[in-house]
Symmetry: C2
Subunit: 249 residues, 2 copies
DNA sequence: CAATCCCGTTGATCCCGGTCAACCGGGTGG
DNA sequence: CCACCCGGTTGACCGGGATCAACGGGATTG
């Protein structure tokens, strides 16, 4: 560091936040771009920010200024109702976008909390919009990301509105496994970053029910659980559980 | 019509779909625009489309090509899961935007069905994106609409995940009343466009429970119900019901 | 105008998941 | 390194809402 001149330092900083160099590029940005096009996106990210486990990236009610892409780590988003009840509305991992709830009212509605030491790329929203106007593939991509968040939420509504507890938990495990696979992790063995209480809140059931269902799934030979460690033994079985129509009307 | 020359006819068609002349402008479009700016948005809408009660605007799985703004009428959106279960994911009225679920995968995920004879403005999505790139206030507005849909969905997740049946129904009535007020209708007296079954699906409960709760609210003097006709007598009471934390942990 | 069917209401019973409680084990912080 | 505390598991019991069933009335359709 001591022997570096100013331009070299600038380059180094540049590299540190260059999307074109990021191995999560395929998750965050539009695909099929050439090097030139990619470079034009390199000033999308202003800085990076580390968030320690248990700390929050932003709180509900806070003014909105930027979107965040998870570089590594794990987050939960929570919504607090007027009377203080807290609902977990989602879990987010590497390559996923946070903060889109804030655009509508220039103020975040939910709180984003790190469930393990994490790092995010900070993308000032004004910059996102400006680059979207100038760069059609980015606009397209950004709209897709927003839309997919809507679709994801509707999926959760279906989960909560029309499925039984065991179906919901099975769906949760299958979904988690899929997302981890996309990121190159094992599909069958992983460590839960959240507590039983947080899973329960997300799935609309009590922590005791989550615990009991984990035990039941284990008895049925579909999974192996030890605390936060989960091994999936029969993903087809889980899929069967989550799809079983309980009331044949 | 017989005596009209071609240009005059064109003007008439133009007027028919001109956003600048629409009385729902404040609900659909960014506010605070001057006449010139408004005129530049007039080719956002290609045509209008009437949908008869019971018919669908689009179906889940269908290719996505346009967004739709409700001009008048009432819609429900439904999601059908793999095993055929149907979940109502939302109700939409005049001035609200439909079809945003389709952007993410170029294919609609939910089905939109008219619950009364309705009409929508058809906005080809390519045109929406093009105008968004050229016209910053529209871009801003469009992003806000997308974000608000996310926030709305998260609100429903909280409803379904952490509230009891009576709280959910109270919240539903309060929300309906609010949205009708915004559109200049009576806040205290309205006709439900959907059946008990559809309300139940949306709120994650059975139609019998919806019916029983309506009766209970009526006994408690908070509402008056006769079939689809509802009169709200004590909105504060409903708000109290929807906010009551049932389990003081 | 009449017939039909769907929608809504209400009662009786049941069961899934919530509630309360006790215990245990492992990770964390002093 | 040890103690503490939080998170997880399991059991017993309870209750809200689902299920099953019967009936009634309005609105649509021919």
């Amino acid at each position: 560091m001591l022997s570096m001149n100013a331009p070299a330092l600038a380059t180094l900083t540049r590299l540190r936040t260059a999307c074109s160099q990021c191995n999560l590029r395929e998750l965050c940005l539009p695909v099929g771009l050439n090097a030139d096009e990619l470079n034009s996106l390199d000033n999308l990210v202003s800085t990076r920010r580390k968030i320690r486990r248990g700390d929050s990236l932003f709180y509900g009610g806070e003014p909105f200024s930027a979107l965040y892409a998870v570089r590594f780590g794990f987050f939960k988003s929570t919504l607090t109702s007027g009377d203080g009840r807290e609902q977990v509305t989602g879990f987010y991992m590497a390559g996923e976008l946070l903060g889109m709830d804030g655009i509508g009212a220039d103020r975040h509605t939910c709180t984003l909390t790190a469930l393990e030491d994490s790092e995010v790329c900070v993308m000032p929203f004004a910059r996102v919009e400006e680059l979207s106007r100038r760069f059609e593939p980015l606009q397209r991509h950004f709209h897709k990301v927003l839309s997919r968040e809507i679709v994801r939420d509707q999926g959760v509504m279906m989960l909560l509105g029309s499925m039984r507890a065991e179906e919901r938990l099975a769906a949760f495990l299958v979904n988690l496994s899929q997302r981890l696979t996309t990121r190159g992790f094992s599909a069958s063995e992983f460590v839960l970053r959240m507590t039983r209480d947080e899973i329960g809140s997300y799935l609309g059931m009590k922590l005791e029910t989550v615990s009991r269902l984990f035990s039941r799934f284990q008895e049925d030979g579909m999974i192996e659980v030890h605390q936060k460690h989960v091994r999936i033994l029969d993903i087809a079985g889980l899929r069967r559980v989550m799809a079983q129509a309980h009331s044949p009307n």
